[in-house]
Symmetry: C2
Subunit: 219 residues, 2 copies
């Protein structure tokens, strides 16, 4: 499926709103990072570990997607920073309007970096932007080495890929080279960050990259 046929399926108002959001963010010097990944790959943990490291260097905020308002509170709701939960009303992912409304609930004048936690799924179209600056897929060892080839679209369009839970390697016998090859077939250039939010291994490289990207895009 080509980019064109996909884009044709998105309502024009959504595309226009996404462009408008992108322009707004650029004008304000704010970088929005959209994190995708299956349930349990560690999106929430990664955001927690990332904001605790980046606070003081940038002014982060968080947007959290949820399928319903009856979900248990997220650990991201109680951070000491601006945070908004978006209820998609059962829809499997955020759209441009939901992201925009969430951003407008944040004190944007006091924010440099917004981390957006998408609903946990890999079966959504992601090649169109909602206005965000970076799209990051968070996978983890339990999903298996062939996860990218089974759920290609998010991996093909990611600006970075995080492979979480590398501390489970001894128990899962995960073949990292095979995972990397599967990613490379879809997305030859994208950086892959192998890390563990539990042990902290590999987090620093991810933080450095994110900070550099954020600064590069905001300037």
């Amino acid at each position: 499926m080509t980019l064109t046929t996909r884009l044709e399926r998105i309502p024009p108002a959504e595309v226009r709103l996404a462009e408008d959001t992108a322009a707004l963010l650029q004008a304000m010097g704010i970088v929005v990072v959209h994190l995708f990944g299956p349930p349990g790959s560690g999106k929430t943990s990664l955001i927690l570990r990332t904001v605790e490291s980046l606070t003081g260097k940038v002014r982060p905020a968080v947007v959290v997607g949820a399928l319903s308002s009856q979900a248990e509170p997220s650990p991201l709701d109680n951070l000491d920073l601006p945070s908004v939960q978006v209820n998609t009303g059962g829809q499997p992912c955020l759209n441009a309007n939901m992201l925009r409304e969430a951003l407008e609930k944040l004190p944007l004048a006091d924010v440099d970096l917004v981390l957006v936690e998408e609903i946990g799924t890999l079966t959504i179209p992601v090649e169109h932007s909602l206005g965000e600056n970076l799209r990051v897929v968070v996978a983890s060892l339990p999903q298996g080495e062939d996860c990218p080839s089974r759920y290609p679209e998010p991996f093909a369009h990611a600006d970075a890929i995080v492979l979480n839970m590398v501390d489970l390697q001894p128990y899962l016998g995960f073949d990292r080279a095979r995972f990397q090859q599967a990613v490379r077939r879809l997305n030859p250039q994208t950086p892959i960050f192998e890390l563990s939010c539990r042990t902290g291994e590999g987090l620093e490289t991810w933080w450095d990259w994110l900070l550099e990207e954020a600064r590069g895009r905001a300037s």
Copy 2:
């Protein structure tokens, strides 16, 4: 969202076809078990461990959902039993027509039990049947204790829930009681099978239940 409003969104032909499939299966004494779950929760492993145990007691077959025909071959393609792969063409789940077409490719006269591996996701509506007899959610410890409340619909409508990877408990510190409470709030009666496809722990109870359900429904 009520059952009625959800059902109204399903095209009538899909509903009718699902009813027709259910009648066909009943007439032939075949039981179809539809397995849902996020990527990496172990649907494939559970099917592998289940068919290897049940062969000789029933005549199993397998239907495997895939998002695209470019996915790597599944270990389920090479089993010594009837197997069909369904390509959903990017759709996040099977529909009644895809299931029916897949079933018709199987030698149904020689089959008692069909295990259907759904695309890996928890963000799909599942309260309508495709004609299958049982719906089973396969979750695993890495998804966390609050997975049911974050992705309620599949858990609310499951005839059984499998909690896989209990062997990872020492490394993940998973609170099984909290998981069970989250399930019970959505689905008070459904059996929960805690097991590990890796170590084999707990599999026998699952096999016994499945075999009994299959025999009860086929007779």
